[in-house]
Symmetry: C2
Subunit: 699 residues, 2 copies
């Protein structure tokens, strides 16, 4: 079919970090033994056995004395007796690995079958590193109990903000049209499922191999047939997918439409306090659990960007969330309620607090602290706007002291270059997770400290995969997915360790030097992208046609509340308490004081907090404008270096990946230069101030 890149089921399974040939080679002389007497066999232990035998083709025996790798679950008694330490809210999912220097078997242990699976993949992936000549004994537990992926996949086969082809869950067999929003003819009349089981198994393996334990299958904007996923016969197909994920230890969630009772059953209201509505959801949830006993629960985007919600009925977000929580509680399910609520019809003329979108999540939710049910979770984007290159921590993370909270990230590169421009966001994510929140706790750690149920906090992130042969469009964007998993597990894992491990697993034929080169390309990519795009935390300057490339004024007169207020004198958003929107005052006193004064505000969020004259003197003595010019010239030039680095690896990379990455780097180079030129000219036309170094800026 013209224009269609035919994709064969499962054939691309091997294109990420678990290369079957390498893993099979690594295990072909091993004999495994799995002993789960301490916990009993379950779907996960059966999957573990199947991974050994069916995926790897390795030997599995019952007698541990014949094994070279022993996997076994531990009782509390075992743990205490051995003096092992499994820490934190997710201690149950941790593992202990013992690698002897010689002769003796490798031992992988965990309190749970799920932990055993994680330990198994960790060992396969070379963690802990056993290259040194001594016995290794490592215990590792995840920092976050919930480590979740949000698929923004849609029933019509497209993926909102997807840059890697169609959905791997929905759409037509063999179809892979690259378009974010498209209409596909459907198989039969209602069958929206792709049915590519082999691919889903491979995907789930990747998820489990980096420690993820939850997934929401469909976009938070729930439209079309996706509204019906909670009903038969769609639910039957959802259950088939759920069973795959459950066997790899991932809980499955669905996004639901708040107005479903009206849309599906014609109820006259969807008021969350109306008994008929509550009853509708109770019965719906009961039915879901009949089909999927291990179902995770719901993700809900309500009263946001045009979606229906409790505000329409004069109710609060807790009224809405708790209705779902109540229905889910008898089954051990949870509701995840998104805090991404703001007025998406802002008047750009209004520069007061009320129009400051950065305040919105805080304004909508801080009063509700303590009122969410114990099986409800508030999902809060890391920053107050929307996954820009540079934002301060969302102040809601300070306000919610008696609420389960998930911190949300975006793996898919919506504002970060669409997986065309290289951008490994781990440095930014860790910066957010490490933001000091209170004595002895950064943002990541504070989550469980203030949770009503410490097991119901964690991270969630929008996934970045699709039907592309490389799964992620740009093969190097696989690292972002990989890195997200390791970051959930260890919120402070060294960035360069992650990038190097990914490069080693993904490019096993590269020598050590070039694996380091690839890791280095990744490590600096997030900073480079931030340099050549919107400056110093000022936010939206992105092209509004899909969010790729520059559009310096594209949102300046829009309804989305995302303005930079550039004029002939200066640029930036005044969010101080004294003269601005007061947003800075939402932080604890010490941070509020720091952000109130441009002299003490960190450079990366300087224009997020302040409207400053172009002549403003930065900490290093440069003017604000010169700093912006320098960043943009420097950022664009560094892309040339990245291209040179990639070329240096060329001879050791297979042609398909080499060329795919090269094409994208060339596009990134053009993108970076366009950003550089548009931003510099845009500000030059306002300021009339030339570059101090005499570089060409168009007038």
């Amino acid at each position: 079919v013209e224009g269609i890149d035919m994709a064969i089921a499962g054939e691309d399974a091997d294109e990420m970090w678990l290369r079957h040939s390498v893993m099979a080679d690594r295990t072909k002389h091993q004999t495994f033994c799995v002993n789960v007497d301490a916990t009993g066999e379950d779907a996960v232990s059966l999957r573990l056995r199947s991974e050994i035998v069916q995926w790897l083709g390795a030997s599995l025996v019952s007698d541990p004395s014949r094994a070279t790798v022993i996997l076994r679950t531990l009782t509390d008694h075992d743990i205490a007796g051995r003096g092992l330490t499994f820490d934190g809210a997710a201690a149950n999912e941790g593992w202990h690995i013992h690698i002897p220097t010689s002769g003796q078997p490798v031992i992988i242990e965990s309190p749970s079958t799920r932990g055993l699976l994680y330990g198994f993949y960790a060992w396969l992936e070379g963690t802990p590193n056993a290259a040194e000549e001594k016995t290794v004994d490592v215990t590792s537990c995840p920092d976050q109990p919930i480590r979740m992926l949000d698929q923004w996949d849609q029933a019509n086969g497209s993926v909102e903000r997807g840059y890697a082809g169609e959905s791997i869950f929905f759409g037509r067999w063999g179809s892979n049209v690259h378009s974010e929003f498209v209409s596909f003819p459907q198989r039969g009349e209602y069958d929206v499922f792709r049915g590519d089981v082999d691919r889903l198994v491979a995907y789930t393996r990747y998820c489990a191999s980096i420690g993820l334990n939850a997934i929401c299958l469909n976009n938070v904007n729930v439209r079309g047939y996706a509204i019906r996923f909670i009903q038969d016969p769609w639910l039957t197909r959802i259950a088939q997918i759920a069973h795959i994920f459950e066997s790899f230890g991932l809980k499955v969630f669905l996004s639901v439409n708040f107005a479903a009772p009206r849309i599906l059953s014609g109820l006259s209201t969807v008021d969350p306090c109306d008994p008929a509505v509550q009853q509708w959801w109770n019965e719906m949830v009961d039915h879901i659990y009949e089909r999927i006993p291990g179902f995770g629960g719901f993700v809900v985007k309500a009263d946001s960007e045009g979606e229906p919600g409790p505000y329409q009925y004069g109710r609060t977000h807790t009224d809405g969330a708790n209705m779902f929580a109540h229905a889910l509680a008898p089954h051990g399910g949870i509701v995840i309620w998104r805090a991404f609520v703001y007025n998406s019809h802002t008047d750009w003329r209004d520069r007061t607090a009320q129009a400051d979108r950065a305040r919105a999540a805080w304004e909508n939710f801080h009063d509700l602290d303590g009122q969410f049910a114990s099986n409800a979770i508030l999902q809060v984007k890391f920053g107050p706007i929307d996954f820009q290159t540079s934002e301060p921590l969302n102040p809601l993370f300070f306000a919610m002291k008696h609420t389960n909270v998930i911190m949300e990230f975006e793996i898919t590169a919506e504002y970060l270059g669409h997986q065309i421009d290289l951008n490994f966001p781990l440095p930014q994510w860790e910066h957010m997770a490490s933001w000091p929140v209170e004595e002895g706790a950064d943002a990541a750690r504070a989550l469980s400290r203030h949770a009503l149920n410490p097991r119901l906090t964690g991270f969630a992130a929008v996934a970045n995969v699709g039907m592309d042969w490389s799964w992620t469009g740009n093969p190097l964007a696989q690292a972002n997915f990989f890195g997200y998993g390791l970051f959930c597990w260890n919120n402070h894992v060294p960035v360069s360790r992650v990038s190097l491990q990914w490069a080693q697993l993904t490019f096993p034929d590269c020598d050590d030097e070039h694996q380091h080169t690839i890791a280095h390309m990744l490590d600096q990519s997030n900073e480079i992208y931030a340099q050549y795009t919107a400056p110093l935390g000022v936010g939206f300057m992105v092209n509004r046609d899909g969010h790729y490339g520059p559009g310096p004024d594209d949102y300046e007169f829009s309804r989305w509340g995302t303005y930079h207020f550039a004029d002939r004198d200066g640029i930036g958003v005044d969010r101080t308490q004294k003269t601005g929107t007061g947003y800075a005052g939402l932080y604890p006193e010490d941070q509020a004081r720091q952000f109130e004064d441009p002299a003490t505000t960190p450079d990366d969020v300087l224009l997020f907090f302040h409207h400053l004259p172009y002549s403003w003197q930065m900490k290093d003595g440069r003017t604000l404008l010169q700093r912006i010019y320098d960043d943009h010239f420097d950022g664009a030039a560094r892309v040339d270096d990245v291209i040179r680095d990639w070329k240096s690896c060329a001879s050791q990379i297979d042609e398909r990946r080499r060329e795919e990455v090269s094409r994208r780097l060339t596009a990134q180079q053009a993108d970076a230069r366009e950003w550089r030129d548009e931003i510099c000219t845009f500000l030059y036309r306002f300021s009339g101030i030339a570059d101090e170094h005499g570089r060409k800026i168009s007038d």
Copy 2:
């Protein structure tokens, strides 16, 4: 079907200026006689008879002595003997009407059956006005021999730049989704024709009633099944449509894809100088004329905005056009070649002549003068850019001295408010047609003077109708269609006469005062819209998402060559010879001199020709910036007056039209205020100069 406004075939026929009940009432006591002995019966005379008998239900007799209205064709001998004067290249299509004071029959005469039909409708529409107490004797001939509509209708049922619903030609029975670009399932596999014959007859009647004589059925961007319209079986359906139009005196044209020989028959080249390609078109044309003996010919957009063309083969536009002309000549057909050719990948950094889109048509075509075949026509947009609110005349109209030329207009309100904002463009069109071109000839008159064949010049315009009940979305936008026809016939027809005649025909139940009110609303609407949108001829400041509403910087860093270059000091495009792109020098010496100096450049194109400081002193003493501020506040305020005018007519207008227009005026009011505020703030942020009158401009 949800979201679908079901439209019944032909039911909206009566919603424009020929209201059946009024016309039938006007003719019910008349007895008609049609005598075409001088020319012989043809499809048109049969249609005239059918209009009298079948459409109006009036009496038709053979004996002129029994008739109260006699329609008859004239021989040259009759004309000379009677001392009548039929002038110009289209003299044959003119009419003479004699209205006696009493008793005697009305006489409508013409050298042709087509002219008889025009005279018949003119008389029905009250032209000439017979209300006065004396004998009327009027002869009228069209100023332009070709008076054409270009439908931008697409095979999938959508209309490019259409703001009145789906195509009346293509799409599905009963469907009317409002969207400019959509994909429709097709009936059968290939049947893209709507088949709403009653509606097409009604449409054709409207066309003939205002003197139009040519139509191109499909969009100049020829895609999908439209490429196949020249082939069976699609051609059969095209022929059915053509026969309707021909019976009303309209020649039917098709837009063709230059690459059709490759796409349809797999030829390896479409080089216009390749004998195989020429042969392919010769045979294709022969076949079309077998099916449609009166076929008009082709419209071709080549080498423009991504369309294929002769440049790909190192050939010229005349090579391309003359290939088609040669194929069409044996059948009396013509090719209409669009001059809308420009580099649509302009670098915004380049402010030199080569990047000046205004120069493009001139650069591409002026050298080709005299080289086009005598049955080829060059179709040139009135201005050098693209139907903006204010442009100078395209300099090609000066350069083509030995070429058949059509001047192109756009009825559909692409840049003029999408038929939401009220905008009756006749004043702008007449300003363009009246542009002095040489001694004794304005632009309109010069066309035939420099034509190789004086009968092959004229006007063409993009149509503005669709499946909406009112045909044009906004019922008042019917006036634009009506006005276009009268303008083609009389290039200097008084604007207020047209608007009043339209109001009288369309609102027969309104009293005279309110018909004048409606006419007045129309008359000033073009000026009002120009006031509150992009200032003083500066061009593109329109929202790029479909061209409705403001987007002051939306095209500033785009590839389309449409820039305003606003900065902290000034705004506008320097197109002078001395310091700019030299475009002003493309005009004859006196005009070039006038445009070279901002002091002598007309205000409405001031920023088209000059980049001026905000402090520039206008002819009336105001600064440039103050003039822009004043225009925008004034324009927006005048919309309030228009709304008040419409309300004053409310009691005399039927509810459907009253409410439809009211809704659109309310939307226009919001649009005008948004334009005012965005443009004023945009320039205030650059200039830092407040409004002298202290009106509020957001910072």
